[in-house]
């Protein structure tokens, strides 16, 4: 799908999941649309386009950010990680992805990429969270299917598995 060009296009260089890209983009092109339509990385989902639902969350230089609230031109020179970049390789899911699967932490899957990105970054920086802390950390990602408890269980399980200890009670 082509994005129509306006008369003020900007050349950008961007790294996504370790791969370098160079493109000319309209200033108003949202990063979410660039990822999905220009790079055809459709794992990042678009829900509300005003920053509330969290489905579009990616990592910008390792930190979670709403791709629907980022202009592609703002990402020039930066590193992006999308859900496609979380698994170790094409055969193996990441520990968190695996836990989400075994805990039945997704149904329609629309919110799932946003949760994976948010939770991956959170666990990287907070290896032993309590359940309350996990719920607070995930409060920026909305899910309409699961009721959250299996997502929380998967995150806590991953924390336990990755770091061997946890201050949580058993789910």
């Amino acid at each position: 799908m082509s994005i129509s060009q306006s008369n003020s296009c900007h050349a950008i260089r961007i790294t996504v999941n370790g791969q370098h890209y160079e493109h000319e983009v309209e200033p108003r092109l949202l990063l979410s649309d660039f990822l999905r339509h220009t790079l055809e990385l459709t794992g990042t989902h678009v829900g509300c386009e005003h920053g509330v639902c969290g489905a579009c969350t990616i990592l910008l230089d390792g930190q979670p950010a709403r791709s629907c609230l980022t202009l592609t031109v703002q990402a020039d020179g930066h590193e992006i990680t999308t859900v496609e970049g979380l698994a170790t390789n094409e055969q193996e899911l990441s520990p968190l992805q695996e836990a989400l699967r075994t805990h039945h932490g997704l149904q329609c899957g629309y919110c799932t990429p946003g949760f994976l990105i948010t939770a991956s970054a959170y666990l990287r920086d907070n290896p032993s969270p309590t359940e309350e802390q996990v719920r607070a950390a995930l409060s920026g990602n909305l899910c309409r299917c699961t009721g959250y408890q299996n997502i929380v269980a998967a995150v806590l399980d991953t924390a336990r598995e990755l770091h061997g200890k946890s201050s949580t009670k058993e789910m």
Partner: protein
Amino acid sequence: MKPVPFHYFRPSSLEEAISILKRYDGEAKLLAGGQSLIPLLNMRLARPSALVDLSGIPSLDDIKLEGQDLIIGAMVRHSSVERSPLVAERCPLLREAMSYVGHAAIRTRGTFGGSMAHADPAAELPAVAALVDASFHIIGPAGWRTVPWQGFFETYLTSCLEPTEILVEVHLPLPTRSMGSAFLEIARRHGDFALVGAAALVDLDEAGCMSEVRLALMGVGGTPWRLTAVEKSLRGHKPQIKLYQDAGAKAAVDIEPGSDVHASADYRRDLAAMLVERVLMAAASRASKTGRGEVKV
């Protein structure tokens, strides 16, 4: 739901930014973190002809101490304030307030100056600015000007900034080390926009009386609200629950909240009374009777 087409600039100096703003004669908007602006663009509630991205201008993202003032640059990201050891040590109130600002992903991009300039009366940072009597340093075609918080926040989503002006930094007089602080907010869900929020600073003298009390509310009017009359009535008294309850009751009548889909005016008054009581209690209990520093009134 996509933005209208616009031109995009990323100047490398304030002078360059101002000349672009002048050229577009009110049709250009400044882009800081974009967490308030881009939703407006996406919904086409804002249709600027140009965006001027401030992220290329050096020295707008410093956090520094100058005497008794904490100076925060307009482009400092919320996450930087959250993680700053300087802020944690010298202004724990700000760190506490920051935990209520949106969610982690919003705080990665959102900026200190952006939040102030957006001037949402329900926002956390304008209330902190009001509490500590912050001043705002602004540059424009006519040069520099400094505005106290009362002059900066005009009404709902309206600051005093002209279309060709840029907020450069905010100066926050630091609470003394002996002051206790507290910040509380009620929202339907954690991270949502506040219905009502409150912030307090309390200092105790050697006799255990409140030598200084500051109270601010958010979400109860068009700008952050300092409860100066209530503060006066509390100063000199010993902390006690009955006093806080009276303060809450006084606050409820002092404010002029509006009703909207999220909360009625009456409900906001109830919340204000309850929050004032709680932040006073928390701030007073956190105030230390020893280690009195220089008192800034």
